[in-house]
């Protein structure tokens, strides 16, 4: 099978995956007990008002009608209106989604930069004290729960030393809104970003480090490294230019998948640091039975995972011609 056919088949799979994902989401949310009026009932919504609202939202329609309607809406790129806020879902989540991407993106970049370097050095200095110590540290980071790492960093840097704020995305009371640079480029923002991003970086650090180390070990056993060494190249050149570069391939795949996973993992970090991101909005929407908002949030996060996997597959084929199109 040629490359083109492979890509075509992979795209078809992608479409089927999206459809299955969307359907599953729809069914799951409708199976959840309660409805969007539940939260108002104890605040005095009368039974008549409740019924009227349910009808307004179309929730009294048979499930398949709601399903078809929602699918039609989604195909036109419309996420609908939030049941609770009564605003277009897209307006609510775009800002939140950006906040999450900036946070988790920073965390991942730090994690992979440090992870790849650290892993390469560990592989190079096999059996050294550095390697053994490094593995222990990495494994500790890997097994620490996100919220625990967050709380430890908070206690040290926010409460004890007082260097960083404990929550939020900026100092309150300032101008809201503004362009991308104004929002995400200010020193105040970076100060707020530091601890949550570091938390994410620590948690996501282990995968690239360990993976890099083990592929390094494979590559270092390869004949061409011996030849390069025999050619009399400096150690540094062999390490970075030949060994590390050839070990990086699997990292690319893992990175794509990790990006997807990190989006989902942001919920905990956002909760601990009160970060106004997608994860928190998602939790609220689920608690309030705000189906359109909750589904859009899950859909977006899931899409990142699906698309990143897709990209990983394609990159792999591109980077390594030995990979079979099967």
């Amino acid at each position: 099978m040629g490359l083109r056919a492979y890509v075509a088949r992979r795209i078809l799979q992608l479409i089927v995956t999206f459809w299955a994902f969307f359907t599953l989401l729809f069914v799951l949310f409708r199976m959840m007990p309660g409805d969007p009026t539940s939260m108002f009932i104890m605040d005095g919504m009368t039974p008549e008002q409740r019924e009227q609202r349910i009808a307004e939202l179309g929730l009294d329609q048979p499930l398949y009608v709601q399903y078809v309607e929602y699918a039609r809406q989604l195909l036109t790129g419309d996420f609908g209106q939030s049941f609770i806020y009564r605003d277009p879902v897209i307006d609510i989540i775009v800002v939140r989604f950006m906040n999450t991407i900036v946070l988790m993106g920073t965390a991942l970049v730090i994690a992979y930069l440090i992870g790849i370097t650290f892993g390469a050095i560990m592989g190079w200095w096999r059996d050294s004290r550095f390697e053994r110590g490094g593995i222990v540290v990495t494994l500790i980071a890997r097994s620490s729960p996100e919220f625990w790492v967050g709380i430890v960093l908070l206690s040290v840097f926010a409460f004890w030393l007082g260097w960083f704020p404990s929550s939020g995305m900026r100092t309150t009371g300032g101008e809201l809104g503004g362009g991308f640079v104004a929002r995400y480029g200010s020193a105040d923002f970076l100060r707020h970003l530091f601890l949550p991003a570091l938390t994410g970086a620590i948690v996501y650090l282990a995968t690239p480090t360990l993976l890099m180390r083990s592929t390094m070990l494979d590559v270092l056993n390869a004949d061409f490294i011996e030849i390069k060494k025999a050619e009399g190249l400096p150690e540094r050149t062999v390490l970075y230019k030949h060994a590390a570069r050839n070990s990086i391939l699997p990292i690319v795949t893992v990175m794509a998948i990790a990006t997807g996973a990190a989006m989902g993992g942001s919920v905990v970090i956002e909760t601990v640091f009160n970060w106004p991101g997608m994860g928190r909005e998602m939790v609220n929407a689920v608690n309030n039975n705000d189906y359109p908002l909750a589904m859009a949030a899950f859909f977006l996060m899931g899409s990142v995972v699906i698309i990143m996997n897709f990209i990983a597959d394609l990159t792999y084929v591109y980077l390594d011609p030995r990979v079979e199109y099967e």
Binding site: G34, M39, M45, I84, Y85, R86, F159, P165, L176, N284
Partner: protein
């Protein structure tokens, strides 16, 4: 029994030395175990059906979750079979209040200021008109004698007469126990005493109260930063709103009357108490002079009239003003003619309708009211809207032309992911007040911190067990009364809630002094009394201690 012991131990651990009395009460029931001290019916019929108790999960409400497992143990102790189901808030409300698919449900009723008037607790919650799915009479309680009293109090404009009726009504439900009224769950809200002074926690609301928000005074700058564990839905007063939303909407919009710190409606945009004619159906009042909206336009009697008409046409709030038949205006005076007598009119209608600027809302179609976006949210209240980014912050600033200018120039509301994050932010100096009760461990930290303090408040609402009187055996008053004896109210307040709140036996809180009847029948945890009650009702026990209907019942 294993589960039984662990849950008790958890409670008693917190009690420490002082727990000695609690220990005696707690284990009193265990002594009799399979061999009830009370003689039941000799001839037994079939087993009493299992009781399906719906309660909150530990995540939703740790205190009530703990209480539910003790209640379930106690009920099993006196011979019932109990199926305890723990649900999240939304699912719980749906199952118990909407679907009415429960036998007993442990839930709370909030005590917002408009519920200080006894109407909600007496009429809405216990009158047989309100038993439909989603109605407030969740137990499906029906008692003709009670209904008459509940209807009578609506018509009594004379407060002393109305008080007597409300007293009588409380006596009846205390005897019938359609609900076990457990405790008014007061508590503490933490704040930074070093950064804010003049906090004013009021009945039922603590630091969320309107009076606190206009009174709180920042010490070193001009801003008060207020944290709350959830975001508000909207500032549009015509939307379906929950309590946290109203707590901010009412800063921006004014009413004719506001519920004051003592729980009574007091004149706000109105100059004085309304003049009520002898038939109790005509209310006349005068509007303050010189009030303006945030955009500088005058607030006139026409705006008030427009507002009430708009409410009448709105799909969300027409119920609120249903009782108004006609409105007249003359000069600065406005007169409301009611369709029938409605004693809580001042508190629950005049005190709840927000006055809107006609020049902004005048052309909005009634069906579009809920979606209408007035970007500046122009009202006439003591604070005006500045800016809002959801999940991040809502900024308000003092409206200097208001007759009650707030003490803070800027008031910022910061939603938190949960209460503990907010307490963290309070400790690190990023916020100044939290409108929620923290976990006991956090309370201790706040106590130890020189810069922080706790604001105490009492509650009007209460935690309760509701009994589904549509079902057996809860249709029987004896069964309900017996179950009420199985609820450890004192243990709940003292140990589980660490002293926050007060035990109650009636639907009107003791902190609502004027309407609270202090002499109703009281139900404390007493498993022997519970068994006696069941025996009196004709029930009996088999050799395993399981409760049966008596043959003669």
């Amino acid at each position: 029994m294993v589960e039984d012991n662990t849950s008790r131990r958890r409670v008693l651990k917190g009690a420490g030395v002082a727990g000695a009395t609690g220990l005696v009460t707690s284990f009193a029931g265990c002594l009799g175990d399979d061999d009830p001290d009370v003689e039941g019916a000799d001839e037994l019929d079939e087993e009493v059906p299992e009781i399906h108790l719906v309660a909150p999960t530990a995540g939703t409400n740790p205190f009530r979750n703990e209480l539910a497992s003790i209640i379930a143990d106690n009920w099993e102790e006196i011979g019932f079979e109990v199926d305890l189901e723990e649900l999240e808030f939304g699912a719980h409300v749906d199952k118990a209040v909407v679907q009415q698919d429960f036998d007993a449900s442990l839930l709370g009723w909030g005590g917002t200021p408009e519920r200080i008037d006894p109407h909600t607790f007496i009429y809405d919650m216990h009158h047989s008109n309100n038993t439909a799915e989603g109605g407030r009479n969740t137990p499906g309680y029906e008692n003709d004698e009670y209904d008459e009293l509940a209807e009578l109090q609506v018509t009594q404009v004379d407060e002393d007469e109305r008080q007597q009726t409300v007293y009588d009504a409380q006596e009846i439900i205390a005897e019938d126990q359609p609900r076990t009224y457990i405790a008014n769950e007061g508590g503490y809200h933490p704040y930074a005493s070093a950064r804010v002074t003049d906090v004013d926690p009021t009945l039922g609301e603590g630091l969320n109260s309107f009076w606190n928000m206009i009174s709180a005074t920042p010490t070193d700058d001009d801003t008060v930063r207020f944290g709350y564990p959830s975001e508000i839905i909207s500032l549009n007063p015509m939307q379906d709103l929950a309590t946290p939303d109203r707590q901010f909407v009412r800063l921006i919009y004014d009413q004719l009357y506001r519920i004051d710190e003592d729980g009574f409606p007091s004149p706000w945009l109105a100059t004085d108490d309304p003049e009520i004619e002898d038939d109790g159906m005509t209310y006349t009042l005068e509007i303050r002079d010189g009030v303006t909206f945030h955009d500088g336009e005058d607030l006139t009697v026409e705006d008030v009239e427009f507002t009430y008409e708009m409410y009448a046409d709105s799909p969300t709030y027409s119920d609120l003003v249903d009782v108004i038949d006609e409105i007249d205006t003359s000069g600065n005076e406005i007169t409301f003619h009611l369709e029938e007598q409605y004693a809580p009119f001042t508190a629950n209608v005049l005190g709840q309708v927000y006055i809107f600027p006609e020049h902004i809302w005048g052309d909005v179609d009634p069906d579009d009211l809920v979606d209408f976006e007035d970007e500046n949210w122009t009202g006439s209240g003591p604070f005006e809207f500045r800016d809002w980014e959801r999940q991040a912050e809502l900024q308000l600033e003092a409206f200097d032309d208001h007759f009650e200018t707030p003490n803070a120039d800027t008031f910022i509301r910061i939603p938190g992911s949960d209460t503990s994050t907010l307490v963290n932010s309070l400790e690190s100096g990023q916020i100044d007040m939290v409108g929620a009760v923290p976990q006991p461990t956090a309370v201790d930290r706040v106590r130890d911190d020189d810069e922080l303090d706790l604001a105490d408040f009492d509650a009007v609402g209460y935690a309760m067990v509701e009994y589904n009187t549509r079902r057996e055996p809860l249709d029987d008053r004896h069964a309900r009364r017996a179950l009420s004896y199985g609820v450890p109210k004192e243990e709940y307040v003292e140990f589980i809630r660490d002293g926050m709140g007060t035990v109650t036996h009636t639907t009107i809180s003791e902190h609502n002094e004027f309407w609270h009847n202090p002499d109703v029948e009281e139900f404390y945890e007493d498993l022997e009394a519970a068994q006696q009650e069941l025996a009196d009702g004709g029930y009996g026990w088999d050799d395993d201690g399981r409760l049966h209907y008596g043959a003669d019942q």
